[in-house]
């Protein structure tokens, strides 16, 4: 096995993506020190509630963050057998950060320089090496162009099929691959004439048509009907087996994550709080568990709860808005497992992501010995 096969396909290290809330005169620390790995032929699920920064992480990898200041730190190493590079190489030269007590208080950014450099880094990757599918597939397709042509465009941009006819055949092949019924008929249809499920199939076909190494699926089933959701999941699972593509799967739906993922990262307040194999992270009865993951799993109506008609276990308080980030643990205010010994630390210091068991990382003071 070559070295490329052993090192992870995507390695995000200490990624920071901030926005600026003009009306509040403060930063939105949307992604604040995220570290993640996606191995070859692996599916990594990222689960979290709104505002946890999971989608922003994906967008940062794709270089799609438009609003300022955007990505301000960290590294994203990408290594397929074709391309190897840091997607944020040299971008820090365009950014000037001032911190105060370890907290970013001021950012000066050369927007145009940063944009140009980022575009240069991403130009041979976007769509070709890394493809992405989105939530709300119908809005994500261009309503003015037929779906067939949108797939053909991706084929011609990124594969050896340059002639119109060849590319068209290739696009049709991919429509068949995603099990679109009567693909030839749908080829000339506009997205407005298709259901949400069909549009998501088109999105998947378009993403895979350039034969990328990494697929980022950002809430691919959200907003679809339950029966359609299960179909899309089935499709993603089959395609994963057939093509061996690595996937970064982002969802708030624990069900979807548990079905598709090999490894799972749980995000809260812009940081990964737990990271490990799907079984160990999502098992509600596991011995080592981050308090947030435990509470999250418990707040989903389980069969037992439904049976007993018992009230759900809730997490008190509101989802953290990443504007007013507390100095200590992000989850501290809502946590029900704070013990007197660690209370002090929870309130004042942000815990590090540390390994608590082989391949199982945790960001919690309870597990720091």
């Amino acid at each position: 096995m070559s070295a490329a096969m052993t090192q992870p396909l995507l390695k995000i290290d200490n990624l920071r993506t901030y926005f600026y809330a003009r009306s509040k005169q403060s930063f939105v620390r949307a992604v604040d020190g995220v570290s993640l790995e996606v191995g070859q032929r692996e599916t990594v699920g990222v689960v979290g509630e709104s505002g946890s920064g999971k989608s922003i992480t994906a967008m940062s990898v794709m270089g799609l963050i438009g609003a300022g200041p955007g990505v301000i730190g960290g590294s994203i190493h990408y290594a397929s057998h074709r391309v190897k590079k840091n997607l944020l190489e040299g971008l820090e030269n365009f950014i000037d950060i001032e911190t105060e007590n370890g907290r970013v208080m001021k950012v000066r950014k050369n927007e145009s320089g940063w944009q140009h450099a980022s575009e240069r880094l991403m130009s041979d990757l976007r769509g070709k090496e890394i493809a992405m599918i989105f939530q709300n597939p119908r809005a994500s397709l261009n309503p003015y162009i037929t779906v067939g042509e949108q797939i053909t465009e991706a084929v011609r941009l990124h594969t050896a099929c340059k002639s119109a006819k060849e590319a068209r055949e290739r696009a049709l092949y991919w429509l068949e691959q995603v099990k679109m019924d009567s693909p030839r008929l749908r080829f000339n249809a506009y997205p407005s004439a298709m259901s949400g499920g069909m549009c998501q199939r088109v999105m998947i076909a378009m993403a895979l048509s350039s034969e990328p190494s990494l697929l980022i699926a950002d809430e691919p089933t959200t907003g679809l009907d339950a029966t359609i959701q299960s179909k899309i999941i089935e499709l993603l699972e089959e395609l994963k087996q057939d093509t061996g593509i690595s996937t970064l799967l982002i969802s708030h739906d624990i069900g979807v994550i548990s079905r598709l993922s090999d490894r799972v990262a749980v995000m809260y307040g812009g940081a990964v709080v737990e990271y490990g194999s799907a079984q160990s992270v999502l098992d509600i009865n596991a011995a080592i568990k981050h308090p947030y993951t435990a509470a999250l799993l418990a707040s989903v109506p389980s069969e037992q709860k439904i049976h007993e008609k018992a009230n759900l276990q809730t997490i008190e308080g509101d989802v953290l808005d990443t504007i007013n980030v507390p100095p200590g643990c992000r989850f501290h205010a809502r946590c029900n497992q704070v013990t007197p010994e660690i209370r002090e630390k929870c309130a004042s210091h942000h815990p590090e992501l540390i390994e608590v068991a082989p391949g199982h990382q945790m960001r919690c003071w309870r597990f720091v010995s």
């Binding site: 009907d225 339950a226 179909k231 708030h252 079905r259 509470a295 439904i306 276990q313 809730t314």
Partner: protein
């Protein structure tokens, strides 16, 4: 047994296709049957869940019951009174008792009003209240929905999703509703907040004896909330009964598919056992031309397995709801397990 607060009989709502002077040119049918002959009843202190995929007409049922739109035919009997044909003027005093929570968190919240103004307005809709009384009522409402006092002077845009939902519920409670149509009250919320709202709604029901018509596509939440469940498909109720029976021993193939999709989404092992021959096609729902006979036939695995029996597509023989024991009703020619 407690008394029936709401009874719906053969309720239909057909939407008119947009008509213009030029509609002569396009030869399409003019009405879309969003709700078609729906009947059910709701008792006091009871929750009825209404589930179905998007576009099946469940939201329209909720809006029609509250007479926010005029039904095409059928009857709505609320608290012993037929409200189907009441005028807006006559309806207003009745609205005190029946309320709705919209899916959109902002629906109940005027973006330019503070929370206290929104709630005070609701408190004084049905007759003037003295300032002192309003103050007391306001405190009580905040207490009931577990909202912090400090939020009173906030504008809706400064609230989080969960807080907006709480204000929306408080607004509905302020008028003293007995029956509440909850239209997807949790779907816009995060999982942890969703659990808070579900618990809140359940607690309020226990405290105040409320009745809910709980409309949702989230089967787990519906299962937890409801005593009874009705499953809608393309404007019709295809199965109805006690929650345990619908979830546990569904008789209609559609209900079965819905629930198994839920299970299947989550775990690898379950798939093999329920896979069967269920191959629901990717049909686009076409309201304009309901399939003749049973609406579900085009997607129905049973129909396929039985070799496409003629009665399923016989237009004169659309399956009607019939009782299969213990108030469990199903509209299917070949219900499962028989």
């Amino acid at each position: 047994m407690s008394k029936t607060i709401l009874e719906v009989k053969q309720l239909s709502k057909h939407f008119r296709r947009q008509r213009s002077v030029f509609s002569v040119f396009n030869r399409r049918s003019d009405t879309i049957p969003a709700v078609d002959k729906v009947s059910f009843y709701l008792r006091e202190n009871e929750t009825m869940g209404l589930v179905g995929e998007s576009g099946c007409g469940k939201t329209t049922v909720g809006r029609t019951i509250l007479r926010l739109t005029r039904p095409t035919s059928g009857n709505i009997i609320f608290d012993g009174r037929d409200i189907t044909h009441l005028s807006d003027q006559e309806l207003r005093p009745l609205r005190k008792d029946m309320q709705i929570i919209f899916q959109d968190l902002d629906a109940a919240l005027n973006p330019k009003m503070r929370v206290q103004d929104i709630l005070n307005e609701a408190i004084s809709v049905y007759g003037r209240v003295s300032d002192a009384e309003a103050e007391v009522k306001l405190r009580m409402l905040l207490d009931q929905v577990n909202l912090k006092n400090s939020k009173l002077s906030s504008y809706p845009s400064e609230l989080s999703g969960g807080e907006k939902r709480r204000v929306g519920i408080a607004r509905v409670l302020a008028v003293g509703a007995k029956m509440i149509v909850a239209d997807e009250p949790t779907s816009a919320l995060d999982v942890s907040i969703q659990a808070q709202v579900v618990n809140l709604l359940r607690d309020l029901q226990k405290q105040l004896g409320l009745s809910y018509l709980f409309i949702s596509h989230d089967l787990q939440v519906v299962e937890l909330m409801s005593h009874k469940v009705a499953v809608m498909y393309l404007g019709r109720i295809v199965e109805m009964g006690l929650t345990e029976r619908i979830a546990g021993s569904a008789r209609h193939p559609y209900t079965f598919i819905l629930w198994s999709a839920l299970v299947e989404k989550q775990n690898h092992e379950a798939i093999q056992s329920v896979k069967m021959d269920r191959r629901a096609a990717w049909g686009v729902f076409d309201f304009e031309r309901p399939a003749s006979g049973c609406r579900f036939a085009p997607r129905c695995p049973v129909y396929e397995r039985r070799g496409r029996p003629a009665e399923c597509t016989d237009p004169a023989n659309e399956p009607q709801l019939r009782d299969v024991g213990e108030g469990h009703q199903v509209a299917c020619h070949f219900p499962l397990g028989s």
